[in-house]
Symmetry: C2
DNA sequence: GGTGAAAGCACCGAGTT
DNA sequence: AACTCGGTGCTTTCACC
């Protein structure tokens, strides 16, 4: 939970790797005018410190036939059931993220589906969970940003 | 936009790479009992087809001191201003995702911040955008799932 | 904490079946 | 379409600074 101290070189290494994990360390080394060994050691340290949790592929879900995104707010009959309901939600495929929230909804989740029909099936599964009072769906018509690099820069700018 | 045909071997290759992009192709080859060259050719094809859009590092934002997540629903004075407002939102740091939505809100976004105070600054910036009528914030108290691998398996199971 | 070189591998293309 | 194989180049370690 504690803050970890990263210097300018770490920032730049992350900057080059954040949206392309396969950039050779030798390229990074050249650009930063340090040795490839140093890049290696620093990346390893950030991994050990847990700053770098891992790496992942970015797939094009639209091309796979899954272009539907919606957010679903869930109202519970009783907040004491939150944990139970969350566990049931976690079992539903195509629910990609779930949060316990304050504010309007008790639980809030994101789903990705093939189309409206398919999303309906997923939402019905949410509605059918014992303890769920009702749900409210917001369909995404256009996703406009989703940029890790930008967030990272915002963070580094504040350091 | 069109569906792209992936076979069982492609599924397994993606399965191994999706949450660790640095798994050596030789390891994948061993596990699937094919040659490393084949793995290479298949990955390249998926990249060329755009199924694999890229790769990214997963950072631990909590460890960087940014543990606050909230969703903010935005109501507009007039929906004709949607495009303009979205552009302004895209300029605000710490807004990580924004969607145009149907349903309760006109625009819906996710923010990541240091703490409540910091989030307040971000939300004020949203409120201050010309054309924004008001906003509604849902604070995430606990994020429960966020798993690409699970989504991918859900998709493959349906194919 | 950084370097530079050397050893060990992985990547990736060419040629073959 | 997949395999083998070889050249090229990346990663990773280590002795030294």
């Amino acid at each position: 939970m504690a803050k970890f101290k990263l210097d300018e070189i770490d920032h730049q290494i992350l900057d080059m790797l954040i949206d392309n994990t396969r950039v050779p360390f030798t390229d990074i080394a050249k650009k930063l005018v340090i040795s490839a060994g140093t890049v290696h050691v620093r990346v390893k340290k950030m991994e050990e410190a847990g700053i770098i949790k891992g790496s992942s592929l970015t797939l094009d879900y639209k091309k796979l036939g899954y272009s539907f995104i919606a957010y679903v707010g869930v109202f519970l009959k009783n907040t004491s059931q939150t944990k139970f309901v969350l566990e049931r939600i976690n079992e539903i495929p195509f629910v990609t993220v779930a949060h316990i929230t304050t504010g309007k909804f008790n639980v809030f989740c994101k789903i990705r589906a093939r189309n409206t029909e398919h999303a309906k099936d997923v939402i019905f599964m949410l509605d059918d969970i014992e303890g769920v009072y009702r749900t409210e769906t917001m369909i995404s018509m256009e996703e406009s940003i989703n940029d890790k690099k930008r967030l990272m820069h915002s963070i580094f700018n504040e350091m």
